[in-house]
Structure formats: structure tokens, C-alpha cells
Assembly symmetry: C2
Homo-oligomer: 153 residues x 2
DNA sequence: TTAAATGCAAATTATTTGCAGAAGC
DNA sequence: GCTTCTGCAAATAATTTGCATTTAA
């Protein structure tokens, strides 16, 4: 998926009259080198593995461009930092379930949700833009076995 | 609604062996004196109108107690601050639609969503805890009339 | 009396920004 | 060559915390 997404971002940059730089290229390449969610700090580390000269400031300046161009989604799950999701290109309609036990984020798709959201928006006099369903739930595995295989750290 | 909710919070405080103070009382009274959403800073201002000695630190120390006791919901809509919602006591299953044009938050209830969320959680091996559907949408009124009556500021 | 609560001010932490030098077009 | 970009370090802003003092039980 990376090649097309990166090309799309480069077209966006060009259309805006902005420039192509080694640092930007590294950040964008890093941003689509994984299907995991990541923070700005994570992205900095990943980008530096590609191009060590990348600075934190440039990451923070590039992230809004990625979001504005539509290739990356910014999410806020009430933690102290924002999380970025590179998977909307492949799965444009997915939602997130957050485990209250292990903090793990599970992605899922459901067409009924999609439909329902459209109905509700229209009923209230709005046109749906981006929708996000956040389900906070506890892991059945944890309850049964006293542990959760998804638990990190 | 305030009286019962406040009694519920006081019972929680007592059960935890914590104390009743004028500052705490003022913050709690302020927290349920409105059906609007508010920030920590807003709550500080409201509480100070009741009891001027209330400090910012005490507001920040009391908010987690209100949330933990279940009478107040903390929400994060990706702004730079958290927003608190006192309406879950009257409407335990409501969801939020956020207007991308005017930033207004509209509350709504829908039993289909409720049901769907339960199904999805179970399908993925989780037990639903708290669920929040966030729909970001643009205002039809704005598009038609070039203005949105809900726009503030 | 004694543990908990308070206000204040300083600390923390993610993110933003000013600036002078470097680099794309 | 003229802008845009960059790294750095300082600034910002919401929230948290240490501490000496006050207060509820």
C-alpha cells in the first residue's frame, strides 16, 4: 500500500506548492511502514531509523500535512497524547474497540454501524463527515483466565 | 436531578473514608448546576461563584472522584482540554454528534446503536463497558444558508 | 488528635513556535 | 535568489505534585 499512499501525499505537497525534503520523505515513509497505531514520538523514532537528521519539530510540522491530505487519521482516545492510524487507506470505514484492561485497540468494520450513523446524522440535520465509534470494553479472556494475552508492557 | 446525584456522590465519599469539605461541596454543586458540558477551568469558575476559596488544584483533585463515582463523564474530543458531561445521570445511553463547522456538541439517543455495540463487542470477545459514538458532521443549515445558528463565539 | 484536604507555586509533559542557518526549485 | 524547511531551544498550556498549613472527624 505504501507506494500509492506516498504518491498521493507527494501530489498533495506539490499541489500546495510545498517542497520535497529528505526529512519529509523519511517521515512519510515511516508513517506507512507499519499497520500499527503510533504517537508523534513513535513516528520520530521510526523516521530517524530511516534518516537520522529528522527532528521532533519536523515530525510535529509534518503530521498535520499527513492528516490534512487525508492519508493519515488522527485519533484521540483520552490519553495524554494523540494517536495516528495509517490503516484508513486500506479500511476506510473501520472503527475501534479499546480494551479497558489491556489498553489494546482492536479495529473492526461493520456496515450496520455505517448505515446507522448516516441515518442519525441526517435525522439531526447534519451531513456525516468522519465518524468514529469508540467502544470501551473489558476482555473476556482476562475475566476467565486472570490474564489477557493482548496485555502489553 | 442535583439532589440525588449529590447524595450519591457524598455516599461514595463517605464509603471511601474521605471527608466532606466546603470546597468539595461547592465543586460538586457547581458540577450539577448545569446540563452544559464544561472544562476543568469552567468548573473552577462556577465553583468559585459558590465558594470563592476553591482553588484550581482542588478542582483537578475532585474531578477524578466525580468520574470514579460514576456521576460525571469525562470526554475527550481531541481538543487541548478534557470536557465533562453531567448528563449521563438523566440519559445514561446518549451519544454525541460534533459539528465540524460550529464545534457544537449535540446529544442524542438511539437504541439501535446500543444493541449494535453490544453485538460487536461480544463478537470480538469483549464485554462492553462504556461506549461512545462520536459522529463528526457538518451542519446542513450552514451549507444552505451560509451560516449556522449553533455557531458560538 | 491525626489523617486527610487545601492553596500556592513549581514541576511535568505533549505540542508549538521564533529564529538563524540550510536547502529545494 | 528567493522562499520554504530545518533543528534547536525556548515558549505554551493543561494538568499534576510537593509542601507547609488548615480542617474534618
Amino acid at each position: 500500500m505504501s507506494p500509492e499512499v506516498i504518491a498521493r501525499f507527494n501530489a498533495f505537497i506539490a499541489a500546495k506548492g510545498l517542497r520535497k525534503t529528505v526529512q519529509r520523505d523519511a517521515i512519510v515513509a515511516a508513517a506507512f511502514s507499519t499497520t500499527e497505531h503510533y504517537t508523534a514520538e513513535d513516528l520520530l523514532a521510526m523516521a530517524r531509523r530511516i534518516e537520522p537528521s529528522v527532528s521532533r519539530a519536523t515530525v510535529y510540522r509534518t503530521l498535520p500535512l499527513l492528516v490534512e491530505s487525508g492519508v493519515l487519521k488522527e485519533m484521540d482516545f483520552g490519553r495524554d497524547h494523540k494517536i495516528y492510524d495509517p490503516n484508513y487507506n486500506e479500511h476506510p470505514h473501520h472503527n475501534h474497540l479499546i480494551c479497558t484492561d489491556c489498553d489494546k485497540i482492536v479495529e473492526f468494520e461493520d456496515q450496520h454501524i455505517e448505515l446507522l450513523e448516516d441515518c442519525i446524522s441526517k435525522r439531526l440535520g447534519f451531513s456525516p463527515a468522519s465518524k468514529s465509534l469508540r467502544i470501551e470494553a473489558s476482555c473476556d479472556q482476562l475475566k476467565k483466565m486472570g490474564a489477557c494475552e493482548k496485555r502489553k508492557r
